[in-house]
Amino acid sequence: MQNAGEYLKRVMVLGDYCYLESAKKTVLTVFGCIKVFLSERDIHRVNSILPEELQSLWQVSEIRREENNTSSEDCIGLLQRAGNYPYRAAAEKAIKVVFASLKEVLTADGLKEFVSLIPSSLREIFNSSGVCVFDSSAEEFL
């Protein structure tokens, strides 16, 4: 990966998005929602394990205050509202896409640390986020 643009192009493929902007919006909203559930210290830790090219995306991602007004809401629920996803499973898919993309760019140690930091409700999604592309011909080998 040479830059954030290249990463977003890959997200576009993984999520089957039609526009680069949609991929960027997905990444920023997912990052922003995860940050809501992390301590300041953990936000910095995630930043440090991300490749340099992605750190700026992580840093600028932010959920606007009015979107973060329900304390009982889980991360997926918050993402559904903040990202304006029409149903919860669509929000889950967005998280899956971002996790799949991170699996391609993080080191093994980085991945281990990342999964230990994210909200526990997202860990199952993380584990199942191997292949997001539609074509299943090579799935078992990936």
């Binding site: 493929v13 089957d16 039609c18 149903y87 299943s136 090579a138």
Partner: protein, 590 residues
Amino acid sequence: MEKEIVATLRAVTAKPDFLTTEKFDAMLGGWGVFNLGIWAAANIIAKEIKKGKKLKLEVSNEAFTDVDEIARKAVKRLIECGADPANAALATATLLYWAGVNVQCGIPCPNRKLGAVARMAAGIPSGRVSSIPTEKLNNKISGFAATLAIYQALEKEHLAPFDPTLLPLGIGGSPFVGHSAIGEDHLFPKLGQKLARIGTRAMLKAYESAGMRPCRWMSALLATAATLEIIHPDAYVGEEYGEFLVTRTPEVVAEAAVQEAAMPEVIHIRGTNEELKTAKVIGDLAIILKDSGTPSVVGMIMFNEICSIIKEGAALGVGRAGGPLLLPLNHWVTAPSLALYLYGRGATEEEIVSILQKALDDYFQKEDAIVATNILARRAEYLERGPLTDAIIRATEPAMTNAITRRAIYAYTQMKEGKTFEDLLRDVQTRHINAIAEAVAKKMSTMLGKNIEYIRFLEVRPGAGRRKHKFAQKYFAFDAYIDVEVKIDGKVHRWENLLAKVAPEALLKGDKETMDAIASVGMAVTELLNSGACSMDVVVCACVAAAMGMDPKEAAERAAEVANVIISMPAPSLKKATQMASDIMKGLDF
């Protein structure tokens, strides 16, 4: 609440077909239409999803997969509901596609394709694109137009990007070409895109020559399918065309067809606004069409209607019953198709209910569309109950109850205050016509980018004078007389006898200015002609009259006579509804 209103509410909803002039049982017979079968098949697929069946074509080492099993069940149900086997196969494959099943996987063994899976579930032979008709748009053409043009071009020109006589001996059909740069980077995408453009142009031209507005959707689809009969339909392509393990030849071929047909690059799902790449959808559906046998015209109508969950449907020609027009109910499958799309993606019942309600906003006559959707769902439940009809009924029942109750209260109050039944019907019909005019003017202003200040129907009645038969004099749909005035961008147009005189004269003379102006009212006129699809306004009035003591037979006959635009054709169910209202009224003892 007054007994008369209670009796009316119960009577009009006692059977699903009391609120329409259409004949629901006839939707299940051998004359071809099978939309209720699609509602049933969609429920079957949803129930299989609920059981945890895998909706994915995979390269698994097994003779039959979950998708094969689901396809067999769906095809069987569709055939039981009146579908021709080839139509059942195509509808099954298309429903499964929108439920989330991938259309192809593997090379070379197993090489599974969704269209072929459904075709084999139906036990029918394969077909050819040249034999696939288009949907009926009054007239229809077939994929023959694309096939013919493609083969004529192949005969006249050399279209491959190299001289194939130079290929080494004995490598025909081998991976030397098929799985390498020669095929994947050059032959398949380059030839495929050329053929798709030729086929699409030929389809568009054939539509025009046969007196139809060209259907961009079907032209791109059948041209892509015809091309995939020639080039390798499963091959991955060079990185220049798309990512490995993601993009195959159907999408690449479809890209050219989409461009040639001037379709938008991105389309959306009704109710959710989710974005889809047009070329991906066209490529996927084209490969289904190529493999699923030879559907009939009705099969292609249903195929299109299943796909009418695409928001841009009306503009592109992707089905017609998804809105904004209120079409005859034998077209309607958008609700189960959309519900299945959502269910397959993991949406909850609450979410599906909410999205369906939103999607119903797309109609000019929202309340009528809600009623139409509800009564179809309830009739479909006689055939196959399931999570989709559960959600659809939940989505529509509150607004339907509200619409019927409001009308019943109005009719009762008006007649109680002394208005005659005939005057009430005239009043209700006028309000119905005006509501259509207002809704169409508003939406068409946006669609056409014009300021349609108003549409006014000055006279609307049966008997435009084209036909002498008394049947045509009695029922609006068979010889409609319409005088209409419309103000567009400050200019007033007024036409007398629009359908029998003005429109044909302008069209035959090539009077573009008049035809462009008529475009502003065209959909409103169509809404009037299709009014019988939901006859709620008249049925409620007639049932209130019957509950208030009028002879039920007379109430039905008088209603059909006076409200002769809304009841645009004969409706036996109206008499049954008024009889029911009268019977209920007599039985109420509270």
